[in-house]
Symmetry: C2
Subunit: 146 residues, 2 copies
């Protein structure tokens, strides 16, 4: 059924379009209005370090779904802002452990509150079952493609 096919193709712009763009812009705007100078991409790296500090760059690649050059440069910029530092691993000299500074630890509460507020705004009128479905579909899509 070609008509169904066509609609499936259009789904690309659903998954990768207006909503994700709008959420990203709003979260970045909310950070800026709170006086935070970090980008949402930098924040996503910090987010994983708050859960577990001193991860290797490769581990950050895995957890943030970015490639190695992207992480290299995000860490470069976070290091310039004194939010993280690279610490050489003692057991494997190829590895940099990326560790949070005290300044970065202080950002955790505020930024996560802002992210929660942003998502609460975004999800007004969306119920738990629908959210659960979106999460399941996205996990399925990811699994299908990797």
């Amino acid at each position: 059924m070609p008509n169904n096919q066509f609609k499936r193709g259009e789904l690309y712009s659903v998954i990768n379009g207006m909503a994700s763009t709008a959420v990203a812009r709003r979260l970045q705007k909310n950070f800026r209005q709170a006086g935070l100078e970090i980008t949402i991409e930098q924040w996503s790296v910090l987010y994983h370090l708050w859960k577990e500090d001193c991860l290797s760059q490769q581990e950050l690649c895995n957890r943030t779904f970015r490639d190695k050059p992207s992480i290299t440069r995000l860490i470069d910029n976070l290091e310039k802002q004194k939010l993280v530092r690279r610490v050489a691993s003692k057991s494997d000299r190829r590895i940099n452990l990326v560790c949070l500074s005290d300044a970065a630890k202080e950002l955790q509460e505020l930024t996560i509150t802002l992210a929660n507020q942003t998502m609460n705004e975004a999800l007004i009128g969306v119920n738990k079952e629908e959210i659960e479905t979106v999460k399941q579909v996205f996990q399925r899509v990811y699994d299908n493609l990797t």
Copy 2:
């Protein structure tokens, strides 16, 4: 309930994370393997022009959810590749109408087929109701934030 709050914050990475990245990378890869040199962002512009040719740059901003500088440079690159050309509007000299070349018209069928195939791969095991829910949630999120 703070626990629920926290989970909502995590949803940012659902909407803007692994799945959308994976779909974008796969579609770009499928274009490349078919010998197509266009980016998915350029394709998204062409997509709207195939539906309606000779739109203004502002109208392309609205339909692709991009800002004006982004469209300016996408059109610059599409023009370099001879896929579109800027045509001055006769009724309003501020406006550039962006019109498809014959070469661009020939890309329509193949690229849309590739997009459909990519989304079929991505959506294996996802049923129509779930797809409908995702579309509704994303529309709602967009409306909530704009």
